[in-house]
Symmetry: C2
Subunit: 305 residues, 2 copies
């Protein structure tokens, strides 16, 4: 490790980098219930009885999150829907957003309008108020950064860290092939489903699937100090997708949740009645931390890629 | 104008671009007291009696806001202090921040650590909790985006739009030469001063000076439907700076405020007692909107530059 430090090696993963960053920052104030490391930060205000605040920031960069030449309205839609998916994963309701766009000097009104049409469509669909932002000319790639606030009744908050060994692992919808099919540009964040699930007894933790199950499930398990076993064949696949793709492609924007096994049958039937078009599938369960987890191929890590 | 549309010309100013963007977005919800167009967005929560929320986002880009090779700890300090200056301009107290960094693939632990040392130092100095963010590898220039929340007692909120014709125009500190002197990398956001000023009767509006008085003063006047007259010779100058530089250099991060003339003498003497090391200087006054404003050279506009 000393040699590593002296040679100024790159942090090997997002996790290692987060560890490094945390050491440089002062401890958050006592109002912060959950800071760096969950889908959103969770903040308690003494003057807001029973309602917690959520705060999330998310960036989209050309050539990293979308190909050059992708229709700008689709980029705008995706940019707003990504943090919405994080708010959904906490059981929250989105409120306000601020948007920073660094665009090439060549952009004219047509480009700006197309981008904001996509943003505006998503803002309308999911009742988010865009309350500010910044526009900059930059010689670099197109860059969008969106910060979003939301709130959640205290009793509905669902973290990654509150699952228990023995809980069932479930996913909404189907996984895999998001990038190649273009679904990553037009997905619907699971806000209604997240809100509903968070209001049900027995849902013990929740997160959104953005980096791929192979990468996201170990994060949830680690946060909850658990191990896990999944049945790869049980993973619901999008058409023409392999299990490998469902584990590693990422950008599914479905919800991963843990459910107390006793409450699963009732939850399953209520979910089917409430959301008849969306599946909720058991793919495995959480285990005590000393058990070996099912080996999984890693999903996406923007630091490694 | 039609020809302009057809030829897809660039918006000629930030203001024109904002107009275009606003048209694409749904109207903000009724909780938004002030959206796009002031230093921060201002939000009312029904459950937070008497306290308003502030939300701000701000970006820093290599070669636009700082030169390549600037020490990373200084960039980190500046990145956090810029939105703090906006919170100060509303009379607010900063609370939480989320930070996105897009860094070149060549960055090792040394670079990440240096950047976050600067951010951490500012977070400690001004009691902001960093509660999340994102780190991405990007082939483009170094890019930082910081979103920050704050709050302000309802009666202390100071907008740009509430000045009245006849009010005196004042600035804190001295202006000009921020970039060439390196002050833009180590300035102190005027949080105590902003908080104090906002708690005083007679301070009718406030904003921070980031683009240069020549650009910022017309924005404040326009927001308040006023014209203005200033005495350029009255502008307090940093050593070796010209009036022209004080008007156009930008990045001063001082406060511009309007004061009811009757209350000025008492305010001035209380300010001197409270902040003996900082000047508060009258530089002109606001006029009815039909009067011609003092002609000013424009300050910085990131869209034009």
């Amino acid at each position: 490790m000393n040699a590593r430090k002296q040679r100024n090696l790159s942090p090997r993963s997002e996790e290692e980098l987060l560890e490094l960053i945390r050491k440089e920052l002062p401890s958050p104030s006592r109002s912060v219930l959950s800071g760096i490391g969950d889908d959103c930060a969770v903040i308690r205000h003494s003057s807001k009885n029973g309602v917690l605040e959520l705060l999330k920031t998310d960036a989209l960069i050309e050539k990293v999150h979308f190909k050059t030449g992708t229709p700008l309205a689709q980029i705008g839609w995706k940019a707003l829907c990504r943090p919405l998916s994080d708010i959904a994963a906490m059981g929250g309701t989105p409120r306000h957003a601020v948007i920073t766009v660094a665009a090439p000097p060549s952009w004219g009104s047509k480009e700006w309008r197309a981008l904001y049409q996509g943003i505006g469509k998503a803002a309308m669909a999911f009742a988010v108020s865009i309350v500010g932002g910044e526009t900059v000319r930059s010689p670099g790639p197109l860059f969008l950064s969106i910060a979003m606030t939301g709130d959640v009744p205290k009793e509905n908050l669902r973290l990654r860290s509150t699952a228990r060994a023995g809980d069932l692992l479930c996913v909404t919808g189907k996984l895999g092939g998001s990038f190649k099919s273009g679904r990553h540009l037009r997905f619907t964040p699971r806000l209604s489903e997240g809100w509903w699930l968070a209001s049900q007894h027995g849902v013990t933790s929740m997160m959104d699937l953005s980096d791929g199950l192979g990468s996201d499930l170990p994060k949830l398990a680690k946060s909850s100090s658990c191990s896990f076993r999944i049945v790869p064949e049980a993973i619901p696949l999008h058409r023409a997708c392999t299990i490998q793709e469902a584990l590693t492609d990422g950008e599914d924007y479905e919800l991963l949740l843990s459910v107390a096994p006793k409450l699963w049958p009732a939850l399953q039937s209520r979910f089917e009645n409430t959301f008849p078009k969306l599946s909720l599938t058991v793919i495995g369960s959480l285990l005590p931390v000393f058990e070996s987890p099912t080996p999984l191929p890693p999903g996406h890590d923007h630091l490694r890629s």
